[in-house]
Assembly symmetry: C2
Homo-oligomer: 375 residues x 2
């Protein structure tokens, strides 16, 4: 009896219904099936789940999915569309015929489909039961994340190698006769990932002033003596699991201010790592980094440490639990990042991000990659 | 005044609100902003749109987005969360303070957020106003699709080159001393795409019996004298636009049955291409392919031609309009695929897919790549 069964028991719901392609992490998690077209997942109280797919997908679904498979015809859709021309309403009729009583759906369930289902049945939005299930990883899920992390470290190594091997002319980094750019470093990392069937979106390779804004991905030539932030969150094409990793490097000597920021960030990361354990709240762990930075003379909030310390990672790159204000108690099996950062316009930004799994009595860091500013 | 303004005018809605990351095509289309975290988009009646982003994203949003930018603080969220601890409710309060009167949201708007907004305001689910807007492409959007199609043709060329250069031993294709596999061909295509900042998910490289099931992606060594279906739908990382392309090839001589199927598919594609024009319905164009296949002695439905003739392509790989049963009238600016296919377990499958734009009086094929079965 998992958390979804318990939720149905507690709410008195007759069944749980999700709808979406496998781009929807809840659907992918519940069905273990990858599909770019939306599928219906339903679980009647006390039963295991079922997915409803097109005839064309039935064979593949039976092979891949961990749940029962039903075709749309078997679910009666073909008969329904003969009388009901509206596709959304037809789908709603099909769904409500499969589940008795009140229907519980995920928070992100599409409103229009819910409205049509409400013509026949009470529909209630669950808050985050599946998200909370997803937050506690099974060992295979941790392994999936470890696999993509290993590929990511190869990509990071190649990126740092490019910067390390670059020559400097008038403070610009060169690869042979051409400037070494953010774009080139990004593409070189992607090439490493392709070989491991992984893919990264919006990888950050920012430099200098850009680094003071955490989400600027960076463009153009890289410079010496300025911080370079490399933040990459690839996903395995095969398993769908993400990882997340950041290093800040500097070709040549960094400014005294950036060096100090780097030491503070590294210290905050080590300080927080010791506080991640079952029972500690994400709020407390985040606050421990805020306190550490304060001791070092750095603010948090609008300037300095301006984001959360970390977040869960799994089938989404940002998922539960949060290591931030309001973050709930951690549980063994949570996979979270530990990523303090400091940002000052005019000086630049520094961020270091590791990922690890909450164990019975602490946190096992999955990232195995040195932290060194000047290269 | 665009279709969204007209919809607000007709429904009497006070404003339109969307919510999501740029993985949501409607949000990306309306905001022209890429974000892996969700943003709120709202448009009050008679005004241009606004996005609400975190403080951290404000600068980037102002640079990238085509609409007004407001931070969550400016939208009052920080004040609201002081009294309202529930995050979804706080967001609902923030949204309902920005828009007066009835609020219209997209069909896929998250149910829980809608429920919270309904505490304060009537919320109505729109059916597909934005999806219909997205179906008619501006010239820049067509150019975005053409760009990713060019990269895709390079990738297809490299894939076909691998098959063409392969040697045959006991009917298995070899690349030097190792069998040429689906996986290798897929990876080689991905490598070509990386150089053009494009990326393909779930590329199909299926062979033999696998090809009879359109959505099996294919695994293991490729074989001579059997159909090989290569179906790739990459997306530009920069613009977010997709394309979609399929070729069926055979190393060496194909069976007479597969040759005949190939000729019929090619014929159906040419036949349908002449029927795609403004005013023709997607239903009619699909039916023209069904009729053509019937003339050639092939069934449609459960066997033979078992899927739709085509679909719109843009920020989603499957979007409006549909070239299938129930498909609505086409309009100039629609970008649609033309992809007839035949599938027979025991014999295999053949599919050919081009993409093109509906013009004032016909259809301009964007795909510029030969169709040849035996290589």
């Amino acid at each position: 009896m998992d958390a979804l069964d318990q939720m149905l028991e507690q709410t008195g719901g007759g069944g749980f219904v999700a709808f979406g392609s496998s781009a929807d992490a809840n659907v992918r998690y519940l069905t273990q099936f990858t599909s770019s077209d939306p599928v219906v997942y339903f679980r009647r109280k006390g039963e295991r789940g079922t997915i409803v797919v097109s005839q064309m997908e039935a064979r593949r679904a039976a092979g891949e999915s961990s749940v029962s498979v039903m075709t749309r015809s078997e679910a009666g859709l073909m008969d329904i569309v003969r009388v009901e021309k509206d596709r959304v309403r037809a789908l709603a009729i099909m769904i409500t015929r499969q589940v008795e009583g009140e229907i519980i759906v995920p928070a992100n369930f599409p409103l229009l489909l819910a409205r049509e289902m409400e013509q026949f049945r009470t529909v209630r939005a669950d808050r985050n039961t599946v998200e909370k299930m997803r937050a506690v990883k099974a060992s295979q899920e941790v392994k999936n994340i470890e696999d993509v992390q290993r590929a990511t470290e190869s990509a990071m190594k190649s990126a740092i190698g490019l910067v390390s091997r670059a020559t400097i002319r008038k403070n610009v980094l060169y690869r042979g006769s051409v400037p070494l750019t953010s774009e080139f470093v990004r593409e070189s990392m992607q090439r490493v990932l392709v070989g491991a069937e992984c893919h990264a979106m919006e990888t950050i390779v920012s430099c200098g002033e850009e680094t003071a804004v955490p989400h600027i991905i960076g463009t153009g030539p890289l410079h010496a003596h300025e911080p370079i932030v490399i933040d990459i969150f690839p996903r395995s094409e095969r398993t769908g699991y993400y990882t997340d990793m950041t290093r800040t490097i500097c070709k040549g000597e960094a400014s005294p201010e950036v060096r100090e920021m780097y030491q503070a960030v590294k210290g905050a990361q080590a300080h927080a790592a010791e506080r991640i354990r079952p029972g500690a709240t994400g709020d407390e762990v985040h606050q421990s980094a805020v306190d550490f930075f304060k001791e070092c003379g750095y603010e948090s909030g609008d300037r300095g440490f301006i984001h959360n310390l970390g977040h869960g990672v799994g089938l989404e790159v940002h998922e539960l639990p949060s290591l931030g204000p309001g973050g709930e108690p951690l549980r063994a099996g949570n996979v979270v990042t530990n990523e303090p950062g400091l940002y000052y316009p005019g000086l630049g930004g520094v961020r270091l991000e590791n990922i690890g799994v909450v164990t019975q009595d602490g946190w096992r860091c999955i990232t195995g990659f040195a932290e060194q500013l000047e290269i």
